[in-house]
Symmetry: C2
Subunit: 189 residues, 2 copies
DNA sequence: TAGTTTTTTTGCCATTTGGCAAATGCTGTC
DNA sequence: GACAGCATTTGCCAAATGGCAAAAAAACTA
């Protein structure tokens, strides 16, 4: 809970009463590795803050291959914004890469917070923009890099993640096969 | 101007008086091909709505190669959000790919609109989120595709853009060399 | 139109990555 | 420790892409 509050406080002021309200509206959810937080085809009705563990967002392309779009680690929110905002079926899965501890907010809870806490919408909009900007600026340079450079950049930005994520998932995130990633690893050592 | 108003009306209601105010706060800027709207190293102080033409956002990677991050065509806003929001130097260039007609808002103008038009912030936040989500969902699948598939997807989504954009820029957007793109084109014909 | 410049296509060969299957390594269970 | 099940590495070869330079095509200018 502390993690979440500290995270929120980066984006705006909250008094103790507001913090308590936020706390009371959240629900702790524990996921085992490979469990799904949300699934493609269903409408996203919850938002999760990752207190502990790693999630990934993935989907199946038209060849039936499973593609990892990105990872979400500690102190980040997970939600399919398109699905949640417009209440349309999601096109992606959110799945636990490791055992996870999530703080989950329902749409109703968020609405309550929005109606009660003056600064709430501002905070949420900032977080939304920031996390989307991060996604863009993380993915975008990858296109211009070859596989080795992408892997090195990943190691560089998320040194602590590489060993917590199975090679097959990391490969699908980097857009290469797991054999290739294995060779790249060997090559780097 | 009509384009802009219609675009804004998608995201919220505006009365005639508000529309006039918005109009009065915007400034028409004409760019010639290759002109810059904003430059890396400088702080973004303006937001542009592309009324006509195509912009691109680009930067130089550590090998000195010029990389096109994305294109912005008619009826979309262009701004380096990070730079504009936090008033920090931009890391990218915004450049005209074709001659362009832009509607430009200064930070002050936007502040005035925000203070005067109740719905303004809500509209802007929606536009921000939507355009970022679009960027992510456009770029993200590209990583999992090979060059040919990326080009075909591009043609598919922006059939009218491909012939207006020089091959070298399109190649740098797709993350391949221009020779490769040229070969892929031949291969498809 | 001829000449000039820019853009796009090609050829040739090196390097990277993929596809597939087998081998190896690792982890947990009995 | 032996086994089963999963994850990772490796070998082999094919396909995709890059690098570089020259040729061809297209766009622009005088």
């Amino acid at each position: 809970m502390e993690n979440l509050i500290n995270y929120l406080l980066q984006f705006g002021q909250l008094n103790q009463q507001q913090i308590d309200l936020i706390t009371s509206k959240s629900k702790v959810v524990e996921l085992k590795r490979d469990d799904y937080f949300s699934e493609a085809g269903k409408i996203a009705r919850q938002v999760a803050f990752v207190d502990n563990g790693i999630l990934r967002v993935c989907y199946y392309n038209n060849k039936g291959e499973e593609i990892t779009r990105y990872f979400i680690d500690e102190n980040n929110f997970a939600v399919d914004l398109n699905s949640f905002t417009y209440q349309i079926p999601s096109s992606e899965y959110v799945q636990a890469v490791t055992d996870c501890r999530l703080l989950v907010f329902s749409a109703d809870a968020l609405k309550d917070l929005s109606n009660t806490i003056i600064a709430w919408n501002g905070i949420i909009n900032q977080i939304t923009a920031k996390s989307l900007i991060e996604k863009v600026s993380r993915i975008s340079p990858m296109l211009a890099e070859d596989a080795k450079a992408r892997y090195i950049s990943f190691l560089d930005k998320f040194p602590q993640l590489a060993n917590r994520i199975p090679l097959s998932l990391l490969a699908s995130y980097l857009g290469i096969t797991q054999s290739s990633l294995s060779r790249i690893r060997k090559n780097i050592r």
